[in-house]
């Protein structure tokens, strides 16, 4: 709940509330300036207080509405049962380890594959036409194919082929399916990034004597990737949640672990536990994304980019 933001740069480079001691330059803030800053501080305090009050009132009203609902006691024991939460927590965590491993491995594969496809799509020159078409077809197909159907086909269909040397492990197959779909998403993110770099950058690089490849590698891609960090992390968070879908092949992930207890007991608390754990896992990632974005904005504001 950030209501106030330190307004830097508004009143010259003075950052400590105008209370700067008369330094070497002998600057003493005027009475008017002190008044203005006092007023600003008071306004900020009042805004915070009002926001807090409004939040409190909203919270209390929602709480009362939920708790006084006629079905609340029943809902409470079905969704918020301490005993089941205690039983579910370790099992869900155990399942979560599978989600995390899948996220790490698939994440790396997706980034590499996505980058390759994006580069293939943005290659210039008539000789690369088939490569461009293939890459475009790949992204079109796998972005359009519903992930769940993709998983079904890969996890249950590929083993049916009985190919020698091809794994039947549902986790590996599920990871492959995830990588196929997500690399198509990520390729598009990368491509947008590559195309968003101003053509003058490439032209400048070429005029300095860099080859096409060098220009791409040293000038275009670094700028493109930096710009694409927020949407990439977005896809990564999304991938993290979708790793659970490999349970289609019988692997027990966090959600499936909850499923098992729910099926036995008909009590839904394990789902709540699994949901909260996923959220808890996503929050650090989201904060990290925000931090990266803010840092990049600061850099850009310093006149780095065009």
């Amino acid at each position: 709940m950030t209501v106030t933001k330190k307004e830097s740069g508004q009143e010259g480079a003075d950052d400590n509330g105008g209370m700067s001691d008369a330094g070497d330059d002998g600057y003493v803030p005027s009475q008017r300036r002190l008044d203005r800053e006092r007023h600003k501080r008071a306004r900020a305090r009042r805004a915070t207080a009002v926001a807090a009050l409004s939040t409190l009132v909203t919270g209390v009203v929602l709480y009362l509405v939920v708790v006084n609902a006629p079905g609340w006691p029943r809902t409470k024991e079905t969704f918020f049962d301490r005993e089941y939460a205690r039983e579910a927590f370790p099992k869900v965590l155990e399942g979560l380890w599978l989600n995390v491993r899948l996220l790490l491995v698939c994440g790396v594969c997706v980034l590499v594959l996505g980058m390759l496809i994006a580069v293939a799509r943005t290659l210039r020159g008539p000789v690369f036409f088939p490569l461009r078409v293939l890459a475009a077809a790949y992204t079109d197909f796998f972005r359009g194919l519903p992930l769940i159907i993709n998983l079904m086909i890969v996890v249950l269909g590929v083993p049916a082929l009985r190919l020698q040397g091809v794994t039947v492990d549902p986790v590996l197959l599920g990871g492959t399916a995830l990588t196929l779909t997500y690399s198509a998403y990520v390729a598009e993110v990368f491509r947008a990034g590559i195309e968003s770099v101003h053509p003058s950058q490439r032209a400048a690089a070429r005029s300095l004597g860099l080859t096409n490849r060098q220009a791409l590698r040293h000038v275009v891609l670094p700028q493109a990737v930096r710009r694409q960090v927020p949407p990439l992390l977005n896809d990564l968070v999304s991938l993290q949640k979708d790793t659970g879908l490999v349970s289609i092949g019988g692997a027990v992930d966090a959600v499936r672990a909850a499923d098992i207890i729910v099926g036995r007991s008909l009590n839904y608390t394990p789902y709540i536990v699994a949901g909260l754990i996923f959220v808890a896992l996503t929050i650090p990632m989201t904060r990290f994304t925000d931090w990266v974005t803010a840092r990049m904005d600061r850099r850009r504001a310093q006149g780095g980019a065009l």
């Binding site: 009002v50 409004s54 909203t58 509405v65 019988g250 499936r256 036995r264």
Partner: protein
């Protein structure tokens, strides 16, 4: 125009926010009871055809879709064919609702147990009765004594298993939400984590593909799968009942439903007059015995 004083505007804003929150949460309403609740507090009269059903004069019965053989035939619960469809109609008859007064509804397994208003009078979906589940829903008395069986592909190591211990080293699978999975966890305690499938169809695919060595299903399903669906699979054997009491399928009703005792009486009556045995003979006669895994 003169703007309203700031404090006033703020107060209005806070109130609006609060009101909005109230509007979002639906205003509490008293739970509606069915109009014609039987006044049988003590006697609980199950007047034929006059029960406090969801739709008066009709009996709404739910099951999952697809509805599997041999419990239902052709995925059409309303045709009266298949064991559970036949049992449902027999119970309806017993309660005084003939075939035309029965309405079928498709309700996913999981949704049948969610709290809140039920849309059906009872649900018939091979649900095993357990004390733990009774915390969440009401059950009728059991209409079928079920045993769990192991299926494996012919000629595999799993197919040669004679005892429960022989299964320990194998990769086993079962459907989530079934007692089959509990049997694996509690009785076999295999070395590898068992695979848990959302649907039996996926368990069958996994067995065919060799992703699991064996799957556990209830015995009639096992007979149906090996006879019609995965013909190169065989029934390895059945488990003994755990804890001495036979596992039973029961009809599922809303927790505290006014119909529970009537439906239970109906099932008991059908058991007494041999109807249940007859239907079992008719629809599940294939499911004779399989060797018991000691």
């Amino acid at each position: 125009m003169h703007p309203a004083p700031r404090a006033l505007r703020r107060a209005v804003a806070v109130t609006t926010t609060a009101l909005l929150a109230t509007a979002l949460g639906c205003a509490p309403q008293p739970e509606e009871k069915a109009a014609d609740t039987p006044s049988g507090a003590a006697g609980n009269t199950c007047a034929k055809g006059k029960l406090a059903t969801k739709t008066s004069g009709k009996l709404t019965i739910a099951t999952d879709e697809p509805a599997y053989e041999p419990w239902f035939k052709d995925d059409t619960p309303a045709n009266g064919e298949g064991f559970e469809s036949a049992v449902a109609y027999a119970v309806a008859q017993q309660l005084g609702y003939d075939k035309s007064a029965v309405v079928w509804q498709s309700v996913p397994f999981n949704k049948a147990f969610a709290p809140g208003e039920k849309t059906f009078d009872f649900d018939v979906n091979q649900v095993s009765i357990s004390d733990e589940r009774k915390q969440a829903v009401d059950f009728s008395s059991g209409y079928y004594d079920v045993r769990q069986a192991v299926i494996a592909l012919k000629g595999t190591k799993a197919a040669k298993a004679k005892t429960v211990a022989d299964l320990k080293s194998l990769k086993l699978g079962a459907q989530v939400g079934t007692t089959s999975l509990d049997y694996i966890d509690d009785l076999v305690k295999p070395a590898q984590e068992p695979a848990a499938y959302a649907k039996n169809d996926q368990a069958k695919s996994a067995l065919k593909n060799g992703q699991v060595d064996a799957i556990v299903v209830d015995l009639p399903t096992a007979f149906y799968i090996t006879a019609a669906e995965v013909t190169d699979a065989t029934i390895v054997g059945q488990f003994e009942n755990q804890g001495g009491t036979p596992e039973q399928f029961g009809l599922v009703l809303d927790k505290g439903s006014a119909l529970t005792s009537c439906v239970t009486d109906a099932v008991d009556a059908l058991r007494k007059d041999g109807t249940l045995d007859k239907l079992e003979q008719q629809w599940l006669s294939d499911a004779v015995d399989a060797p018991v895994l000691k």
